[in-house]
Symmetry: C2
Subunit: 245 residues, 2 copies
């Protein structure tokens, strides 16, 4: 794993068309190419500690990372799930506001913060794309606030599964028809931290959805969805709309 990404040409990068560099032309890409470097993290490893000095920013190339916040007494809330192409860090701020942890093995495409800041000041395409991505994340965070503040445990679980399913469908570009099935990239505890629940409640509600035929489980992580509309109904979302991302 470690060495697979020692140097990938930007043109061949799997996240080329979705990441912060999506809008760059050949010249801009060449500039990025010069200052980028790859870093790998093992599952469970902390990428950045909240409050730490951040001397780099970057994109998730592969794997999943999570953004979490922890209270003094140990209560924890996940505030973002970082997927391939998502951006980590914030130009203009020197310390991290949240913990970033590798949920699976993660490869990141990093830029030292200073050169990157110079670059976004000079290449509008990077700044424009970053603004667009940040606005999308803000919308997603606000959608999540509805879930955290108002949804029941059952609705929270159904929402999480349907979001993962939607993402899966979007990635493989197949319409969400017929028998959809997905792998949960999170443990029960991580789901609990994401949904503002305890892991016991997560487990119970997954069992309940299974018992009611809304989902089927194969192993602990693999979920089949016989009827996606039924799941969306359970999630309590408007039938038409839904979460962006």
């Amino acid at each position: 794993m470690q060495d697979h990404f020692v140097h990938v040409q930007c043109g061949d990068c799997p996240i080329r068309h979705r990441a912060v560099c999506a809008r760059c032309d050949t010249d801009e890409l060449a500039e990025l190419e010069q200052i980028k470097y790859y870093r790998s993290f093992q599952a469970g490893q902390t990428i950045i500690w909240s409050g730490d000095r951040m001397d780099f920013v970057g994109s998730v190339v592969s794997g999943i990372a999570s953004l979490t916040q922890t209270m003094e007494d140990g209560r924890r809330q996940m505030v973002g799930l970082l997927l391939p192409s998502d951006f980590v860090g914030r130009p203009g701020r020197s310390t991290a506001a949240f913990d970033v942890t590798a949920t699976t093995d993660v490869v990141m495409c990093c830029f030292r913060k200073k050169p990157f800041e110079t670059l976004i000041a000079e290449t509008p395409h990077v700044a424009q794309r970053l603004l667009e991505m940040t606005l999308d994340e803000l919308d997603a965070a606000r959608e999540w606030m509805l879930l955290l503040g108002r949804k029941t445990a059952r609705e929270k679980i159904a929402s999480l599964i349907s979001i993962i399913a939607r993402r899966e469908a979007a990635l493989h570009k197949k319409k969400a028809s017929g028998n959809l099935s997905v792998d949960l990239p999170l443990t029960r505890e991580e789901m609990a931290d994401y949904l503002g629940l305890t892991l016991e409640t997560v487990s119970r509600q997954i069992s309940a959805l299974k018992k009611d035929g809304v989902i089927t489980l194969e192993g602990n992580r693999h979920v089949s969805i016989p009827d996606i509309d039924r799941l969306l109904e359970e999630a309590g979302d408007d039938t038409d709309g839904g979460l962006p991302v």
Copy 2:
């Protein structure tokens, strides 16, 4: 109210140094001046309906607006509180994702979306400032996710009051020392919608904080805080850190 803002010169604008135009030089300001117009809204009036076509963006000049999301069965969650200088709308998206409502009488400085989009493509200072503001809002939204997902009702109320108090202190640039007091800009129901509680629970917890001497009430809206550190402790935040905004 209505006519106070028929035409204010940008140079004299009360939010000049905090809004999306904060970094603009004289020339850029002149451009903005040409395409801006003011709109007033009465307390309770809806500024934008979720799903509606948005043909303008703009800044809150005075008053308070709220960003809310409502489920089919009526459950409601406030996902943002818009204060003077906050930006409304999103370049690059044609329909609104949330309801925007005037909580008090509100005056907005508006720009038609198309000209504004052209402008941010050409004047980097506006785009830069907008990115900065969006990143701040994202951080604030994520802090709020911790509150919604993990804090107790009592902690939620204490957090809300301390945030309003901090903002008050920041605005008047007086250190948060001595006997601080603030006006709550929200009804109990609006607080409930913001905090993910019912209005009854909000009322009960305010009464409890009063009984325990953490706050004092004068009327329904005016809160005095004899000991701000005590309040912050009740809010469950790290003593040092705290919410940006």
